[in-house]
């Protein structure tokens, strides 16, 4: 089985993000970079599938040189090889341009199933997996929490409001992973030492015949407005008085009731 897992390098969830003075992006100094947590579920599922059915796992990533760390981490977890698409033309790629580059790279290798995270925690767009499937012309199931594969038949469970649905399709297909699918393993020390020697194919946009042109344009980055200070209600000291004051504020100031 030829399994592909797409990964993106993102700032750690704990990182304190500062917007650059000119609004052109974020300050990267001092940020700790990690594998997008949803992609970890995808990589783990890919590895489990390989362990069950045999085959190998290829990691594909679009990103600058530092993203190599993330590719290597996935290799240390147990994947066989990697492709890193590093091209300045893609540094400001939107979801479409990213998916286009991924699709072009994946077209060049055999694939039976492709894993993505349901979304990346940095731009939160949740589109790459879906666009990738469209560009490859294969089915997709997104937000998957359980996956069963039997021959070419694929059964994937995804949550919907208050319930879950089971989608039946066939491979090749794109699965986007979310929390609950599995518990991602840690890269082991032997895995780290082996990862160094595993092949990673470096690609440029031109190698893949893509331009990197984005369909969406980022106008400006801006931090969310500072939260206004909280208010302590002390109108009069009885519970009734406080409740009345709260109701009034919720209706007139916050306009939520």
């Amino acid at each position: 089985m030829n399994i592909v897992a797409c990964v993106k390098q993102v700032p750690d969830t704990e990182a304190q993000i500062k917007v650059k003075g000119d609004g052109s992006g974020i300050e990267e100094g001092g940020i700790k970079w990690v594998m997008n947590p949803y992609d970890e579920f995808g990589v783990e599922e890919a590895l489990k599938l390989k362990e069950k059915l045999g085959g190998d796992v290829t990691i594909v990533s679009v990103g600058p040189a530092r993203a190599m760390e993330t590719v290597r981490t996935a290799l240390a977890m147990g994947a066989e090889k990697g492709i890193l698409i590093d091209d300045p033309a893609l540094y400001n790629a939107d979801a479409y341009a990213t998916a286009e580059a991924l699709a072009a790279a994946i077209k060049g290798i055999p694939y039976d199933i492709i894993f993505c995270g349901q979304r990346a925690i940095d731009d939160d767009s949740a589109q790459v997996g879906a666009i990738l499937a469209e560009l490859l012309g294969i089915p997709q199931v997104t937000f998957v929490t359980k996956l069963e594969i039997d021959g070419t038949a694929v059964k994937a469970t995804r949550p919907i409001e208050g319930a879950s649905v089971v989608v039946a399709t066939s491979r090749p297909c794109v699965i986007t992973a979310t929390k609950g699918l599995n518990e991602p393993r840690y890269a082991s020390l032997p895995g780290i030492m082996k990862a160094k020697k595993k092949p990673v194919d470096m690609k440029k946009a031109a190698d893949l015949g893509v331009s990197g042109a984005a369909k969406a344009k980022v106008v400006k980055f801006a931090p969310p407005p500072a939260r206004p200070p909280g208010k302590i209600i002390c109108a009069d000291d009885t519970p009734e008085g406080k409740a009345a004051e709260l109701a009034k504020l919720l209706r007139e100031e916050a306009k939520v009731i």
Binding site: G30, T73, A76, Y186, L189, M193, K196
Partner: protein, 621 residues
């Protein structure tokens, strides 16, 4: 954002900018290593520490260890899953060679990961830690048969290990031990005796436990020279490698302790029914010499244990001090509208935090440097270079063990001060850091014994060459710092301390040859403290000089040519904030600590012997 355990930025600084472990990657033995690989390791170690080990910290402390009715010791339940993940990750024996199940990792890199694991939960880490030490002895001194039978399964974590030295009547004086070994016709030995305080002595994490046991073969002379070491499994091992018959090793008791409650500390009875069989490791009467081979690394590991606790206490205290709002600042006292501020604004809290930071960062540099010396003693280019680094290891090990643990206890105590009353309560982790940390002053040889080792053996070793080499390093630090205008004043304090310590050391050497030998013995502990102060001053100032140069580089690159512009960068550039912190810690330590070294040396040189001259009756009359 802090991981609550270890300042990763400072660790990187010590590894790459201060020690320069990149030099190791050029050696053939470490050809598989590079900065990328080490970064990945540290990253994974951090994840393991934060996500897997930290959740066992408070829970393991509450649950503790107990003996079941069947005589089996149970460790905290949450340890089981963490133990499995830790071993699967390959963290038990990274420094060992790949042939035996390790990864040939430099000791200094493994120690940096150990710092994180120790900070996360030392009681937990003791299980794999003891196994590593025991398997190491078998690797080095065992026959092929012993290795095949035990070692591989231990390095993988499948079976556990211990270290059985102490007996009720033989603590600091191992030579007084009473456990005996009786030769059997087949070349094996029948072991009889009781060992006390045995860490991991029994546990339910692994199906078998392998005990290296110090004992005296019947008829051998008393004292340390007559001691041999035996491999004694809890269950005998069949020829096919499977677990066989019970080997008559019984748990008499599990201690109830002040801290590290998740680590089982057992009294073990060997051969109550005359059926405990041991296999000799190495040659007869070589027990102590064999044990000494693992001593340096084991003692350094205890130093790193202290470091881990102190580091976690510091990370927590800084975070807390930024969040806890209490009292108006002193400069606003007269202002009736003044608002209470985070306690980090109060001068006394701030000095506590800087005091902690200086010790933690100094101890980190000292321990990691010593670990690096262990590597260089193996892979140095020439015999002279290797000997020089081995000399550093010998000299610094007792200081790493004793000074780190003693100061770490004070740092954890100081963290409680920062938290105020909340620090004393179990809702916050700092009281546990203090309880867990204290043991590091006691085992692996009490700190009193470490001080005697330093003064009695290590100072004079190699005709004093080890000390002279270290003094050479310190001298270089002083010279370099003096060349950085704003550090010169602090370099002078280190220089003053350095001369005083050299002077006292020479005085000790002279006394050692005369009837005054009791003076060095009586003052071994304060000497170790002073020696540690001087070393920390050296490591901190060495770091400060590097930070100074880096800062100058950043300021030039960013066009910060005025004091105002430089100051502004502290708030926006994390590197600037970090390097300024390094310099601040070195300056503070020089004034706070180094200034009193000389007077302490002078005091010792007065030659007072009151503690030994006074009568025992007078102590509590």
């Amino acid at each position: 954002m802090s991981n609550g355990l270890v300042n990763m930025r400072d660790q990187s600084f010590v590894l790459y900018e201060q020690i320069g472990i990149q030099k190791l990657f050029e050696k053939e033995q470490f050809a598989d290593y590079s900065e990328d690989v080490v970064e990945m390791m540290r990253n994974e170690a951090e994840k393991m520490a934060v996500n897997v080990i930290v959740p066992t910290y408070a829970e393991g402390d509450k649950e503790g260890c107990h003996i079941d009715k069947d005589g089996q010791v149970r460790v905290p339940r949450c340890y089981h899953d963490a133990y499995k993940k830790f071993c699967q990750g390959g963290w038990l024996a990274p420094t060992k060679s790949p042939e035996v199940g390790g990864q040939g990792t430099p000791v200094v890199v493994a120690s940096s990961c150990s710092e994180m694991f120790s900070a996360a939960n030392f009681a937990f880490i003791m299980y794999p830690g003891l196994t590593l030490g025991a398997a190491g002895l078998i690797e080095r001194f065992g026959t092929e048969e012993l290795k095949n039978k035990y070692m591989y399964k231990m390095y993988s974590g499948e079976w556990g290990g211990t270290m059985c030295l102490t007996e009720p009547g033989a603590g600091s004086d191992v030579g007084a031990l009473k456990t005996t070994a009786k030769r059997l016709p087949d070349g094996r030995y029948l072991i009889t005796g009781t060992k006390s305080f045995i860490s991991s002595g029994d546990q339910d994490l692994t199906p078998n436990i392998i005990h290296p046991v110090l004992a005296r073969i019947e008829g051998d002379p008393p004292g340390t020279g007559g001691i041999s070491i035996f491999i004694v499994p809890k269950y005998r091992v069949n020829d096919d490698g499977g677990i066989g018959e019970f080997n008559d090793v019984r748990v008499g008791n599990v201690e109830h302790k002040m801290g590290i409650k998740g680590s089982s500390t057992c009294t073990l009875n060997f051969g109550d029914e005359g059926k405990c069989i041991g296999e000799l490791l190495g040659n007869e009467r070589q027990g102590i010499r064999i044990m000494f081979h693992m001593m340096n690394e084991a003692r350094l590991e205890v130093g790193v244990q202290g470091l881990g606790h102190a580091s976690a206490a510091l990370e927590h205290a800084v975070q807390y001090a930024k969040e806890r709002i209490q009292s108006v600042p002193v400069w606003d006292m007269k202002n009736p509208d003044a608002k209470a501020v985070p306690i980090i604004m109060h001068p006394d809290v701030r000095r506590d935090l800087l005091w902690m930071k200086a010790y933690v960062e100094g101890i980190r540099a000292m321990n990691l440097f010593t670990a690096y010396c262990i590597d260089m003693a193996k892979v140095g280019d020439t015999p002279e270079e290797r000997a020089k680094y081995q000399g550093f290891v010998e000299l610094l090990t007792p200081v790493c063990k004793a000074y780190s643990s003693d100061m770490a206890c004070l740092v954890t105590s100081k963290a409680i001060d920062v938290y105020g009353g909340y620090g004393y309560c179990q809702e916050y982790p700092v009281e546990q850091y203090m309880r867990d940390c204290k043991i590091s002053c006691l085992y692996e040889g009490t700190n009193g014994i470490q001080a005697l080792d330093l003064v009695g053996r290590k100072l004079g070793m190699n005709k004093g060459a080890n000390v002279m080499n270290m003094m050479g390093e310190i001298d270089a630090t002083i010279k370099k710092a003096k060349s950085h205008g704003d550090l010169a004043k602090y370099a002078a304090k280190l220089e003053e301390a350095y001369f005083a310590v050299v002077d006292l050391t020479m005085a000790f050497a002279a006394l050692g040859k005369s009837s005054g030998f009791l003076i060095p013995i009586l003052n071994a502990s304060p000497y170790l403290d002073i020696f540690g102060d001087m070393l920390l001053g050296h490591f901190l100032l060495q770091g400060a000089s590097i930070a100074r140069e880096k800062l100058d580089g950043i300021f030039a690159a960013r066009g910060a040519d005025s004091i105002g512009k430089k100051r502004a960068l502290v708030h926006t550039d994390p590197d600037v904030a970090f390097y300024e912190g390094k310099i601040a810690a070195a300056k503070f330590f020089a004034i706070e600590v180094l200034t009193s070294v000389k007077s302490k040396c002078e005091a010792i040189k007065l030659g007072e012997k009151t503690p030994i001259e006074m009568a025992i009756e007078s102590f509590a009359a």
